[in-house]
Symmetry: C2
Subunit: 110 residues, 2 copies
Amino acid sequence: MLSASTPDPPYYAVIFTNIHTGIDVDAYEAAAERMERLAAEQPGFRGVESARGADGLGITVSYWDSEEAIAAWKAQVDHRQAQADGQDRWYQHYVTRVAKVERAYRFPAP
Amino acid sequence: MLSASTPDPPYYAVIFTNIHTGIDVDAYEAAAERMERLAAEQPGFRGVESARGADGLGITVSYWDSEEAIAAWKAQVDHRQAQADGQDRWYQHYVTRVAKVERAYRFPAP
């Protein structure tokens, strides 16, 4: 099963695509798991899905009730430290996109 | 480098998260590559990024200029056949979300 049980649209998605440096992979994975647990405790959190392919491209999509919920998570203090570590060590390159989900289709149909 | 060179927002993202059946993996991968090439020829296409993790969760995000471009791609005849094959054989479960990208941040800054 996919892990994010999102509500009927509209809601928000944060699409985080990245290329890892390959530095400190174990510390990175521990921090990423910690961030997922912390995110799940935030108000307005609706789920997260993450994949990294053999070519090093990672995609994490998190789902939120509102832009306010996203802004609060962006400013959360432990998350700010992880963002700084990400720029210092873990990511060669990333793009964060904030998007409003307007429609969703599921298979099998619910 | 990340492959999608998207414009300044707003633009659209199609977030496709899926769990593969494990059936016909070689045929699936060939069809997926063919669909990415076909998508790239569509008007309004702005890029695609895809990752599949060891746990079987796949995430593909494609980027488009407009909802009209997404609708045209959804209706494209070879893509419709691939969607049918996906439901018949390849995907246990998927969610397609159509979202309007409102903001984007890059690292390193452009």
